[in-house]
C-alpha cells in the first residue's frame, strides 16, 4: 500500500513558474526559456522523487515550455514579412503568468482584510445562523443518494395498482421538472419528498421528480435532510438568494 502525500508547496504549475522567475531575478517579459525549462523539469523530478502527488497540469506546462523552446530554436519563418516579426512564442505564456500574478495579489489582499471571526466580530454570533430545520427543534441529518433511493422505492411500492393505460399528452422534460421544483422550494422554503411528488401516481412524473432531485443535489442547489431512519426526507434550497 502506498501513501501519497500532498504538499501544497506550489498552488500549481503557474505558481512554480513564477517562483522560478522570481528566484532567478528574471524579467517576466524576457524569460530565458532554456534555463527555466531545465529548472522547471528539475523541480518536477524532485517532486516525483518525493512521491508528491503530481497533478497532470504540471506536465502540461512542461510540454508547453518544451514546445516554446523548440519554436525559439527554429529559424524565423522566411515567408513572413521582414517588418512584421513573428509573434514571440512566449507571449501567450507571459500573458497567462501576468494575469495569474494579479489574481495572486488579489487573493493576498483578500486575506489581509479584516476578516469576520478572525479580526472583527459581530455581537455574540460565532458560526452560522441555525438552519430552518434546527430552529424547529428537529434534529436533521443530511441524507445522500442511498436514502433517497430507499424513499423512492417506498413511494413506488405504495402505488401498487396497475397504471392506467392512457396516452399521456403531457410532455414532461427533466428541465421543466427541475424548474418547477426550484420554484416550489423557493416559495415554501422546504418540502418533503412525498409532497414534491404530489398525489399523482403517474409513474413518469415520479421518475422525473426523482431524477430532478438527484440532479439538483448533484449541482448542490438543494440539500436533503432526514430526521431519522425512515423519517420523511425534507428538501431545502442550498443556494442563497
Amino acid at each position: 500500500m502506498s501513501y501519497e502525500i500532498k504538499l501544497d508547496i506550489f498552488e500549481g504549475p503557474l505558481d512554480l513558474l513564477l517562483y522560478l522567475i522570481r528566484k532567478n531575478e528574471i524579467n517576466i517579459y524576457n524569460i530565458p526559456i532554456a534555463l527555466i525549462t531545465e529548472q522547471y523539469l528539475a523541480y518536477l523530478e524532485m517532486m516525483r522523487s518525493l512521491n508528491l502527488d503530481l497533478a497532470g497540469e504540471y506536465l502540461v506546462l512542461a510540454s508547453t515550455l518544451i514546445h516554446i523552446k523548440s519554436k525559439l530554436l527554429l529559424p524565423p519563418d522566411e515567408s513572413e514579412g521582414e517588418e512584421e516579426e513573428g509573434e514571440d512564442p512566449r507571449a501567450e505564456l507571459v500573458q497567462q503568468l501576468l494575469e495569474y500574478q494579479i489574481f495572486k495579489e488579489a487573493a493576498l489582499r483578500l486575506e489581509n482584510r479584516p476578516l469576520l471571526e478572525r479580526d472583527v466580530f459581530t455581537r455574540g454570533a460565532p458560526g452560522e445562523a441555525p438552519s430552518a430545520a434546527e430552529e424547529e427543534g428537529e434534529a436533521m441529518i443530511e441524507v445522500g443518494v442511498f436514502e433517497l433511493v430507499a424513499a423512492f422505492r417506498r413511494i413506488i411500492a405504495g402505488f401498487d395498482r396497475p397504471e392506467e393505460l392512457e396516452i399521456d399528452a403531457e410532455k414532461m422534460s427533466l428541465i421543466d421538472r427541475i424548474n418547477e421544483i426550484m420554484e416550489m422550494l423557493s416559495e415554501k422554503q422546504q418540502m418533503t419528498f412525498v409532497e414534491l411528488i404530489g398525489d399523482r401516481t403517474d409513474r413518469r412524473r415520479i421518475i422525473y421528480t426523482f431524477l430532478a432531485i438527484l440532479e439538483l443535489m448533484k449541482l448542490r442547489m438543494i440539500r436533503a435532510y432526514q430526521s431519522g431512519p425512515f423519517g420523511a426526507i425534507r428538501l431545502f434550497l442550498a443556494v442563497e438568494e
Binding site: 500549481g12 503557474l14 497567462q96 488579489a106 487573493a107 493576498l108 483578500l110 469576520l116 472583527v120 466580530f121
Partner: protein, 173 residues
C-alpha cells in the same frame, strides 16, 4: 439623541444580519430611504468620535456593529475554537470569482492553471460562492458568483470596495 436615531441604533443592535435602509423604512413609517441613509451616517460618525471598541460598519449594503480589528487578540480569547481559515487555493479561486463574476469553472481553471473543482466545492459549501445560473452554450456550464456572505466575511460594503485589477497590476510594474 434624536428618537429616530435611537430606534435605528437599537434595530442595528438587534438585527442578526447587516441592517439595510430599506428594512428600516419598512419598520419606521413616514420615513424615506434618503433620510435613513443620512441617519445611518450620523450614527457612524457618533461611533467614530467615541473611538470605543465597537464600530458601525457598512457591510453588504447594510449596517452592522463590529468590533475594532486591533482588538481581535482579546476577543479570540473569549471564543472557543480557531477561526476557520481559507487555504491559498481557496483564496485564489475566490479572488478570481470575485473579480471575474459571473464566470464558468473553465475560466477559473484557465487563470489558475489548475483544476479548481475541489477549491470551488469548498467555497460553495462555505457559501462564499454560489451558482448564479447556467451559460447558454453547449453543455450549459454552471455560472458562479460571490454571495452576500462573501461581503460579510471579508468586511466589504460592496464589490467596488475591492482594489481594481488595474490598481493591482500597476502595483506590480
Amino acid at each position: 439623541m434624536e428618537e429616530k436615531v435611537a430606534i435605528i441604533e437599537a434595530l442595528i443592535f438587534a438585527s442578526e444580519t447587516p441592517l439595510t435602509a430599506e428594512r428600516v423604512v419598512e419598520i419606521l413609517p413616514g420615513t424615506d430611504k434618503k433620510e435613513i441613509v443620512l441617519l445611518f451616517g450620523e450614527l457612524v460618525r457618533e461611533y467614530e468620535q467615541r473611538g470605543g471598541g465597537v464600530c458601525l460598519r457598512e457591510i453588504a449594503g447594510g449596517f452592522q456593529f463590529r468590533t475594532r480589528a486591533d482588538l481581535a487578540p482579546w476577543i479570540r480569547k473569549l471564543m472557543t475554537g480557531r477561526p476557520a481559515m481559507l487555504s491559498q487555493a481557496a483564496l485564489e479561486t475566490l479572488a478570481v470569482v470575485a473579480y471575474r463574476q459571473p464566470l464558468v469553472k473553465a475560466e477559473i481553471d484557465r487563470i489558475r492553471g489548475v483544476d479548481v473543482s475541489g477549491a470551488l466545492k469548498g467555497l460553495l459549501e462555505k457559501k462564499l460562492v454560489r451558482i448564479v445560473g447556467r451559460k447558454d452554450v453547449p453543455g450549459k456550464p454552471i455560472i458562479y458568483g460571490t454571495t452576500r456572505k462573501f461581503l460579510e466575511v471579508f468586511n466589504l460594503r460592496d464589490l467596488s470596495e475591492l482594489p481594481t485589477l488595474r490598481e493591482l497590476k500597476d502595483l506590480q510594474e
